[in-house]
């Protein structure tokens, strides 16, 4: 939550409270306000405004030892349910932390900021602020569900562990091959075969380390792009040629159709990493006899690339996640070389560094489609 949002809401609320009271005073002066009704007859416009706030807003009114929730917006309802208001503060929140905070805020007459973690790994960011108005007073709560952010932080912490694991797996493989090699030096044919395996493992690991380095640089914004005007068709042609051997080995054909007159501004080496990773996936996940189609389009502003395969596609609910670092759908499915789940993370970062974006979808006729959009200027 940004401070500006917080400040604005606070200001809105104060203005609204004041307006409300003013209206209340003017309209019905002879009837004393009911003791624990909402402090103000709230104008619809600000109720609507507060209800659209992505932040839970709860107004607690204090009278002697009793504190009651007199207002809660829609976001609050999503977190705390819908007790009938006004409700005692404990009945409303059902967690003593809120009452502790409210008491502390009243005692110190100063705001407090705290984090609370409850069941099911849910974390709330709580700001409690004192309010006073015409002899009435209480505490305002702004509560935000920050579970997502907290989980993301934890993921970052786990990154180091992941890295170790990803590097360890190929290393363990190499170690086994080396040990076998030591025992087969008198058998040149087997030895040659093992050396070939070792070469492949080393290539895979080199690619992994390169990708990781590029990812680290690009994430910290330290990877400068050298943009060069390049023909889209040339880039694709070059890549298809480079990947064709791999594809043929798997019995997969690659076809492409790209207009000749489309130039784009790219860093060739980096963009090569994007295409390599997307095509590598397409080949990896497409069964023998399948086909990969690359289709290029251009208009004045953007260039589009659709890469469509005839593989199993991607489960829809996982579509938003496949660009996450280290995310792979199913370890068993990622056979063959690589398979550490950073290919698409890197691809997305590079495409975005170019000012473009990359999306994944499933084609109606089956298979995955990756769409890369790049601005042409």
């Amino acid at each position: 939550m940004s401070w500006t949002l917080f400040d604005t809401l606070l200001l809105m609320l104060c203005v609204a409270l004041a307006t409300g009271w003013f209206l209340a005073m003017r309209r019905e002066p002879p009837v004393p306000a009911p003791r624990f009704a909402p402090p103000v007859p709230v104008p619809a416009w600000w109720r609507d405004a507060l209800d659209t706030a992505p932040l839970a807003i709860v107004v607690v009114q204090a009278e002697n030892a009793v504190m009651r929730v007199v207002y809660a917006n829609t976001s609050a309802t999503a977190i705390f349910g819908t007790p009938v208001l006004p409700a005692n503060i404990m009945v409303y929140f059902r967690h003593h932390t809120y009452m502790d905070l409210a008491e502390q805020v009243r005692r110190q007459n100063a705001p407090i900021h705290e984090r609370l973690t409850v069941e099911d790994d849910r974390t709330f960011d709580i700001r409690a602020v004192p309010w006073h108005n015409k002899g009435q007073h209480g505490v305002l709560f702004f509560v935000e569900d920050v579970s997502e952010q907290v989980r993301a932080q934890r993921a970052r912490r786990e990154l180091a562990g992941n890295l170790g694991h990803e590097l360890r797996t190929p290393l363990a493989g190499m170690k086994v091959w080396l040990e076998t090699l030591a025992g087969t030096l008198d058998d040149p044919k087997t030895a040659a075969h093992i050396v070939e395996r070792l070469q492949r493992e080393t290539d895979a690991m080199t690619r992994l380390v390169d990708d990781l380095l590029a990812l680290a640089l690009i994430e910290s914004g330290r990877l400068p792009l050298r943009l060069v005007a390049t023909s889209l068709r040339d880039v694709i042609e070059e890549h298809v040629q480079r990947m064709n051997a791999l594809a043929r080995e798997k019995g997969v054909t690659i076809e492409y159709e790209v207009p000749a007159d489309c130039t784009i501004m790219i860093d060739r080496d980096r963009f090569a990493q994007v295409l390599t990773n997307v095509l590598d996936n397409a080949i990896k996940f497409t069964p023998a006899g399948g086909r990969i189609t690359i289709e290029g389009k251009c208009n004045d502003e953007d260039a589009f690339l659709h890469i469509h395969d005839t593989g199993p596609g991607i489960p829809p609910h996982l579509l938003p996640r496949i660009f996450e670092r280290f995310f792979k759908i199913d370890r068993a499915r990622t056979r063959g070389r690589g398979g550490s789940g950073i290919g698409l993370a890197l691809a997305r970062h590079i495409v975005e560094a170019h000012g473009g974006h990359i999306e994944a979808a499933n084609a109606p006729e089956g298979g995955a489609v990756f769409t890369i959009t790049l601005p042409r200027t």
């Binding site: 009278e63 002697n64 009793v66 504190m67 005692n88 404990m90 009945v91 059902r94 003593h96 009452m99």
Partner: protein, 229 residues
């Protein structure tokens, strides 16, 4: 402020304090079991230290109740609520003691080997106990006699789990005598968790009485005296 209003406020704040104590106990149980499962000594220490807050709030509730009765001459129904609040506070505070008891055992278990695959059963017991506790407090504030009866019956579930666990622990001691000490501590942990269910049952009985004036007993209280409190 008129007298009746003032009394209502005081009664509401009394009930609020009972809920607050309940929430503190809930968190204490959760922390104690987390400390057990994660072998987290400092969390266990925290639970033991915080038990003092629970005790203090309990006495505060008792005094507050006594003052209300003495100075306000409450009507019959309000009187029942006040007495129920006192009774709940006592039981909640004792549940807190059980949580602290678990936490103390976690400290001992830290240097004692035991088979860790036994732990999920304890998590499950604590989970049921906490669900019962929350349900019982809901029934209390909503004056929901029906719900109170339902929760009272859930104690059987907890007892079954407890009995199965005790048998399993005893079997483990026979099979792996080298773990005897650790498993004995676990027996005490289980006992503490089982007692929590009994306390919740007490709360439910009291709620039923508060609402209907009817006296019920869910459990024949033989476990009370037996062992290791």
């Amino acid at each position: 402020m008129d007298i009746r209003q003032e009394f209502k406020h005081k009664l509401e704040s009394l009930v609020g304090d009972v809920l607050r104590l309940g929430s503190m106990v809930d968190v204490a149980i959760q922390k104690a079991v987390t400390a057990l499962v994660e072998d987290d000594i400092s969390l266990a220490q925290q639970v033991v230290a915080e038990d003092e807050h629970l005790n203090r709030l309990r006495y505060y509730i008792e005094e507050h109740s006594a003052a209300l009765i003495a100075t306000q001459q409450p009507l019959a129904r309000d009187l029942r609520t006040i007495i129920a609040a006192m009774y709940l506070a006592t039981n909640l505070e004792r549940m807190g003691d059980h949580a602290a008891g678990v936490a103390r055992l976690v400290q001992r278990l830290h240097d004692t080997p035991y088979p860790r695959d036994l732990l999920p059963s304890f998590e499950q017991m604590a989970q049921i106990g906490r669900e019962m506790l929350r349900g019982a407090l809901d029934a209390f504030i909503n004056h929901d006699e029906q719900a109170a009866r339902q929760i009272g019956l859930r104690d059987d579930e907890l007892d079954d789990l407890y009995n199965a666990l005790v048998q399993r622990l005893i079997r483990e001691i026979a099979q792996q005598p080298e773990y005897a000490q650790g498993i004995t501590y676990l027996l005490w942990v289980a006992h503490n968790l089982e007692r929590i269910g009994d306390r919740v049952t007490n709360i439910c009985e009291r709620t039923i009485y508060m609402v209907s004036g009817e006296l019920v007993e869910f459990v024949d209280d033989i476990g009370e005296s037996s062992f290791l409190e």
